[in-house]
Subunit: 338 residues, 2 copies
Amino acid sequence: MKKITIALDSMGGDNAPDAQVKGAAQLTKELSDCKVILVGDETQIKKILQNQTCNYEQLEILHTTETIGNHDLPKTAILEKPNASVLLAAELVANKNADAVVSSGNTGAMILACAKKIPRIQGISKTALTAVYPTQNQLQRKDRFALMLDVGANIHCNSEELVQFALMGTAYSSAIRKVQKPLVGLLNLGSEEHKGDEILVKTFQELRNNPNINFYGNVEGNDLMKGIVDVVVCEGMLGNVVLKSVEGVAEVAKNLTKQAFKSRFLWKIGLTLLSGGLFQLKQAVDFEEYGGAPILGFSNICIKAHGRSKQRAIKNAIKVAHKSIQDNVCEKIRESLE
Amino acid sequence: MKKITIALDSMGGDNAPDAQVKGAAQLTKELSDCKVILVGDETQIKKILQNQTCNYEQLEILHTTETIGNHDLPKTAILEKPNASVLLAAELVANKNADAVVSSGNTGAMILACAKKIPRIQGISKTALTAVYPTQNQLQRKDRFALMLDVGANIHCNSEELVQFALMGTAYSSAIRKVQKPLVGLLNLGSEEHKGDEILVKTFQELRNNPNINFYGNVEGNDLMKGIVDVVVCEGMLGNVVLKSVEGVAEVAKNLTKQAFKSRFLWKIGLTLLSGGLFQLKQAVDFEEYGGAPILGFSNICIKAHGRSKQRAIKNAIKVAHKSIQDNVCEKIRESLE
């Protein structure tokens, strides 16, 4: 059996390299056909690996000391640090030494690193940053996560690009969610087909007429969390602001619960009794629970994990990359464009 | 003392005319210098008024049986129903028989009715629909609500229009929030001044250079609920989708809490003990708690109350209109444009 190889940027993210190395180590115990190349500081990586029980033959290290931090300006950093871990990880994929790249580092830098090293799929004009977010799952899927794209790789998009996003989202969602024909919604300020600007009205028509897309119609902001579609398509400006707004509400809800916890004895007892229910609520609004989401449009799988990812999230992000390769997501996108 | 007169569309909204009539009746007991003209079906209004204790001399009825429902198409309805309650209420203002109009009916119809009857303030190119939403109040204001505009009257806006929105928001917020120089934020996908498209970059510069605006800078989606600014400025497409998304999360949180309540005995006890804390949470995410928000840019005050408004919300919406007139909001907008 040929092993699937993942290049893991081991220096990017709030908990790097600890979470990366431990996540990869854990993975080797769960997936025997997956090899991980840890790109980062060899001394640090080896030190963490010492205390792990894992299948060492599935791990490899590519040494570099250059890293791009969350506060570095992506454009400048990519130019000034040619040996940055995220660039070397993308290069491994470009040179066919790895099948996919995973990073939880600086998002802008990852997009630029991939764009610099990995070609786009033929026919794709713009790559899209996706987000996987939890819903109430009214479609009753096996998992309750939906995919939104673009959430910030591009500011504005034309109809052609939005239709490409729909095709890419369809291919990814059908592979990962195991849904035959994922439902696609177009994010808009009203449900009727004449709503929005010229671009959105045109996109509505093109999505409806495309035989490779199972189009639901327009979805509004308050539909997002319900889970009435599998894939939500929008320009990057809209997707970015909406996603962050929703995360912001979840943060506020958590803070208020903490405040309540501090302030009254009766509330403390209540919260303890409620902990099971609150855990459900936390799961439903907490984005840290989920591993990673793809940057779609490149000819190889690129998975962006959350910056705050811990060991388990990194392991899950590698698994998502592994599954995407097994299921030929890039090939399926290519086919749907024909 | 000259009375301030409010034209109240008494037939628009989910709980009309009951909530409208009772809200107005209640108001007469709290504000002696305010007169309300109830525009709607005289028979129905009189029947509800019979059982109210109030100061009848502060109430007047303008009879009409035509109403525009939530599912009516605004453009068509405005043309086909010239005597619709919302149109007659706007006309009362146009003819100087009232100082402000309040409605909790069809939002699109209200915007069109006001646009048909009431002139815009000189120098304002587009009117803006605003939303008042609750925040964590990090600025420690007396009230914890912030103002967002535009939330859907226009799809896209240019820099000049966004600056006008900032000026209108400033005038309204300083009157209602009693803040000397309200902080204004520009909604964007990043905090740095070069973020966003050309329009946003230009707007950033113009807001910073305008002596009448206390500009905070760009705000991102996750900043909205924190309450780090008093006024958030954005185009209607963005504001509409973001506002509805945030409302959607609040809905989901409520549903999940209900589910938890149904499923386990221990959780029930927990919820009962927690009810004080949950009430705080509810207040912080529940948009029904607040009365109304203005449509800004008309030469008279136009307050849109939430469609689900009950008696108390209608009373508060009338109070907001009353306060705006007392504080000369329209005059202040005019001055800030000079």
